[in-house]
Point group: C2
Chain length 216, copies 2
Amino acid sequence: MSKVRVAAFSVSLDGFGAGPRQDLENPLGVRGPEMFQWAFETDVFKKMHGLGDDGAKGVDNDMAFRSFENVGAFILGRNMFGPVRGPWKDDSWKGWWGDNPSYHTPVFVLTHHARSPLVMEGGTTFYFVTDGPESALKQAKEAAKGKDVRVGGGVSTIRQYLTLGAIDEMHLALSPVLMGEGEHLFSGLNLHELGYKPIKTVPGENATHVLIERLV
Amino acid sequence: MSKVRVAAFSVSLDGFGAGPRQDLENPLGVRGPEMFQWAFETDVFKKMHGLGDDGAKGVDNDMAFRSFENVGAFILGRNMFGPVRGPWKDDSWKGWWGDNPSYHTPVFVLTHHARSPLVMEGGTTFYFVTDGPESALKQAKEAAKGKDVRVGGGVSTIRQYLTLGAIDEMHLALSPVLMGEGEHLFSGLNLHELGYKPIKTVPGENATHVLIERLV
């Protein structure tokens, strides 16, 4: 069955999913990359970004691999798409990921400001959705054609879908990092009350993978 | 060297160290025991509480065992000592743990209300400290005679000592539980700025053990 998933989403020990003060130099926020160290070292990540074929092939890599399996569409928040705020001045910003982003599917970007779809190389097209997360989910499900919809992030976007009870499965990668500040994934959300339950813990080489499902 | 330690302190995936609404029936707060399931199943815990000798003897048990090694004194918050609030009406409340508590050392209880020391069986004496956490720490260090001081909890007490930068080492047991509400260990504390750093992750059978040190 088609699922709505969060996958391989890095979280610090103190619950942050991104560092503070995101800008062009800090796409993941200040110190954000420390939380993603486990991913950067994997074979999946290195091959995906043309960084060689000497990446780690253990548990962390398996979990990174699975995060892309059977994904038919992505949903991203606007800040995950880029550092631009307010109305789009022009079409110059095309994401952080170069001409051939690693999505290779339709990607629905939540924004308050309309913009024409942006066709990239390798099968990725960014669609800009201005009528809210439920509409984006509906469009993503249609576009996924029976495959899963992956809510890629960032924190605010994932929180919106968790609150809607729309996430079926969430794989968090708990990183051995204390951020101290940034965007908090859990703060003020009662995931227990929303029906979410941890079902499995998988120890990786550089992160602890936790699988959470919504039991309804 | 003598250390000030937090050890085997259970934390939920969403960062809570106790459930909400502690009372006589819920010493750990509502749903609190779910976070301690890993400990309840260990040989150390079962023997300590006379619950048989069929407890688990793996990694979780080793970590539970270590939490009591070389401890010369404990510090507890008043709510960890009991559900009584305000001035002590009489001496009837002697802790949650029966006549022979598992501390077997001097135990310094932070409170705003004076009370005479309470001598229990098995080497545990509760001392009630009314002049603040720094005084309690000084007294505990003296009483520990070169051994470690273990800050037992609860959440508010640990947060006070973390904020003072007084904790040298903290072993958290991350439990696969989403509490949703309760007492949050990290909220509003910037442990990174306070000098704390995760140094090791040890996967246990029913919890993930994280060792954090203060690097100064």
